[in-house]
Subunit: 170 residues, 2 copies
């Protein structure tokens, strides 16, 4: 199935020079969305994941179906002020801007095999913060799956120690 | 299955007087998460949904599995500045605070049967805005499904013309 047909490139969003990858046509199509989440699920299953972690908010769209397909739990990584119990927080740089992400301190058990799922790998700031959060919480990141990887931004080079699987590379 | 055992009430979050319902223990448990999304899927199927709409961000966690279960598309309603194509936007009041939500103008086809899925019905501000967005985009809201309803806030009373189904009522 040609998943790239369901991704729309929108130039200069959210600011000049950014070629934004719009995933909404893909998730609006049941066949494409099912196919993409099945591929990501196969990757997470192969890595023998105990739990799926996905960052706020598009990581929820792809991470929750993967967790349900594997019959394992889903742990959200969220923007600050959203998780009500004790959290760990990491600041990071985005392709455009700056942000923070948090995880509940007690949601991952020590040594759990964690697969991180997100929609897109750009410069890798979000994922670097997510890896740090998972590891500080005691988890073992055994794989990172993306729908899309923007290869020219070289985000992958920051994560040489982690298996990365991207369904679509631009 | 007693889903309430997987919801943690956190007092005074995000501010004094709010009894926050923490859904993260539920989604961290594969059996409870599968059960809850199956119940919401049964509701959406019964309403003969053509498409599922879910608001940013926890609506994604419950809405995407429902869309995949029914083999139909998922349309995200997002905070401003996140959707790259032409949008419609609604301002609304929250249980605590004020916000705006947007939908892509062309994502819903005229007359499509839309089921809205979200995690929680409080005062109903988010859902009122979401209904308006769906209807302005040409959709027909045939049902609204929640994991949790806070009955004392009477959000349901704002939506007398719409079938509402809540798995857990507090």
């Amino acid at each position: 199935m040609k998943l790239k047909e369901y991704i729309k490139t929108v130039p200069n969003f959210p600011k000049d020079g950014i070629m934004f990858k719009d995933i909404t046509p893909l998730i609006a199509d049941a066949r494409a969305f099912t196919y993409a989440t099945k591929q990501l699920s196969d990757f997470a299953r192969e890595k023998d994941a105990d739990v799926i972690v996905g960052p706020d908010a598009r990581g929820f769209i792809f991470g929750t179906p993967v967790a349900l397909n594997l019959n394992i739990g889903f742990i959200p990584v969220r923007k600050p002020g959203k998780l009500p119990r004790e959290t760990i927080t990491e600041a990071y740089d985005l392709e455009y801007g700056h942000a923070e992400l948090s995880i509940h301190k007690d949601d991952i058990k020590t040594g759990q095999r964690v697969v991180i799922i997100d929609d897109l790998l750009a410069t890798g700031g979000t994922i670097e913060a997510t890896i740090k959060l998972v590891e500080k919480a005691g988890g073992n990141v055994v794989g990172i799956g993306f729908l899309i990887e923007l290869a020219e931004l070289k985000g992958r080079h920051r994560f040489k120690d982690y298996p990365i699987h991207s369904l679509l590379v631009y």
